[in-house]
Amino acid sequence: MTLLQFRDLWVDYSSSAGNVPAVRGVTLDVAAGETLGIAGESGCGKTTLASAVLRLLPENAQVRGEVLLDGVDTLTMKWGRLRAVRWSQAAIVFQGALHALNPVQRIGDQIAEPIRLHQTVPDKQIGARVGELLTQVGLPASRAKSYPHQLSGGQRQRVMIAMALACKPALIIADEPTTALDVMVQAQVLDLLTGLVRDLGTGPDRGMGMILISHDLGVLGTTCDRIAVMYAGQIIESGPALEIFDNPKHPYTRALAAAFPRIGDPAARYAPTGLPGDPPYPGDLPTGCAFHPRCPIAAPACKLGAPALIEVAPHRTAACYKVDQ
């Protein structure tokens, strides 16, 4: 069975400046045990999409569509059921561990919190379980007594990973788990995360699934099974990771792939695409294909209509008029 399905998901933020459509009709599947990469520039709606899974969006967000986790829609679940699903079925590795960890609580207590809550192990063994988790992410068990500020950035991110694994969820959502770290540490933490997700899977076809979000198409190409590329709140291309990376069809993906020749190149972090212009602000989108003002091969028709996401090759979809089927 499919682990996670987004069905025509729309998310709007209402702000004083007007309506901001951050996610616009996303349909996407994650199979059990599969690692799906989501790539896209800053502001294209990746975090919004990920937060919708466990209904963690801010109060000013309005959501339409369905998010089926193990076949059940989390958007319409009762609160009690939703709380039970949170962390035990899907857990999150946040973007910046420094702000995601409670600064005045020991990390051991913070890791133990979901274990105690969901009672995945008897109370007496929680301490041992926390130690085991810390060891798995390469930290001494004694670190449980530390406060977040006493750890390095890489260590904090390991704590986040240990915490995400605590209840052995079927799905891990890692939202740019390494952006705050320097390049060497980025690679180590990413290896650790993907390694653990593979090893800790509970069976050949029901392993741990993961959504890995990143700006960096290169990183996703080497670590994921499949990739979906987002632009202005929509999926504009998806397919097997290596194929996407080696043979991108959509002009935007091509630009992304060209921008990340090496894994985690820091210079490319903030001027990643080599494309003219800035990513569009979702509150003020261009007409037609949202990419047309920056597209090197845009035709007059691109300003008028929005291309649909269609199958362009086996297992591959793209949303562009200029891509042949």
């Binding site: 962390w87 409670n102 600064p103 979901p114 500020h149």
Partner: protein, 313 residues
């Protein structure tokens, strides 16, 4: 720590020079509006004609000199302050304790759902209380609950700390004191809690934006647990610190409210000294309040060191 001492040093210097550097005859100021023993005046004038530096050094040697007399009461000023400290401690201690408990509770309820019904009501009320002169509130409470108007019986005493002749060492006497405490304490509690509630609310609203609260929710915690286990403990520390830092503001309330209720503490003493004016007494009171406030500032820093792991290490 060092800062506290420097601040204190400047209070002492300020205290000394202020009354000497200003235009006019300091002796005249000292003796204003009262009959001063002429011999004492001559003595005073002789002391004041010494070189400024020498006077300053004499003062510095012991600003708490037990021989400095009040010009109004002809008693050592520090002895009088010593007597008047206790009623003030009782009044302020009770008021601060109650006000912080209630204020923090209100701040939490309002700040956790900003813009909600409770928030709109409580923020409106606290803003009005915040705009109120505390002595006016005291006077109104006196008129309504002690004198009695519009058919409301006057239930509470009009002032003082105990009825004349009451034995304050017996349980009945304590009750009597408690009965006298009700109105002044209520006045101060209402004024202080407005401030504390606003601070706690702002602090919690700040906390609400923090990402670790989203993490706590993602873990499956109930809203109440997220609030109690994560948001409130983090918001409490800055609030409690601010309560300590606001002792200067607390002192203001004490002076006028003690005056209105004839509560025989340092505040009333200030008012009495002011009506003289009794300069030595005022100087001593100023020094004493400053020390208290500086000490409270130090305590606030200490609190952070004790309770915030980030500062501790």
């Amino acid at each position: 720590m060092l800062r506290a001492f420097v601040t204190l040093a400047f209070v002492i210097i300020f205290n000394f020079f202020l009354f000497r550097m200003l235009p006019g005859d300091p002796i005249g100021l000292y003796a204003r509006g009262r009959n001063q023993d002429p011999e004492q005046l001559v003595e005073l004038r002789r002391a004041l004609n010494k070189p400024l530096l020498e006077q300053f050094l004499t003062y510095l040697r012991n600003p708490f000199d037990s021989t400095i007399d009040s010009t109004r009461f002809s008693r050592p000023v520090w002895e009088m302050i010593g007597e008047r400290v206790w009623p003030t401690l009782l009044l302020l201690g009770t008021a601060i304790l109650l006000a912080s408990l209630i204020g923090i509770w209100v701040g939490i309820r309002a700040g956790w759902k900003p813009g909600g019904r409770f928030d709109r009501m409580s923020t409106g009320t606290t803003l009005i209380l915040y705009s109120m002169p505390e002595f006016w509130l005291g006077m109104m409470l006196l008129i309504v609950f002690s004198v009695g108007v519009f058919g409301i019986p006057g239930m509470f005493p009009v002032g003082g700390i105990a009825s004349p002749g009451a034995d304050t060492s017996s349980p009945m006497g304590w009750l009597n004191v408690l009965w006298h405490l009700v109105l002044p304490c209520t006045t101060l509690v209402l004024i202080y809690l407005a401030d504390y509630a606003l601070v706690m609310r702002a602090s919690l609203i700040d906390e609400r934006k923090q990402e670790y609260l989203t993490l706590a929710r993602a873990k499956g915690l109930r809203d109440t647990s997220v609030r109690k286990r994560h948001a409130v403990p983090n918001a409490l520390l800055p609030t409690v610190t601010l309560i300590f830092l606001s002792l200067g503001f607390v002192v203001t309330g004490a002076i006028t409210v003690e005056t209105v209720f004839s509560w025989p503490g340092l505040g009333l003493l200030t008012y009495e000294a002011l009506r003289g004016p009794d300069i030595p007494l005022l100087q001593a009171i100023f020094l004493m309040f400053s020390i208290a406030v500086i000490a409270a500032n130090l305590l606030a820093e200490l609190l952070y060191v004790i309770f915030d792991p980030r500062v501790r290490s």
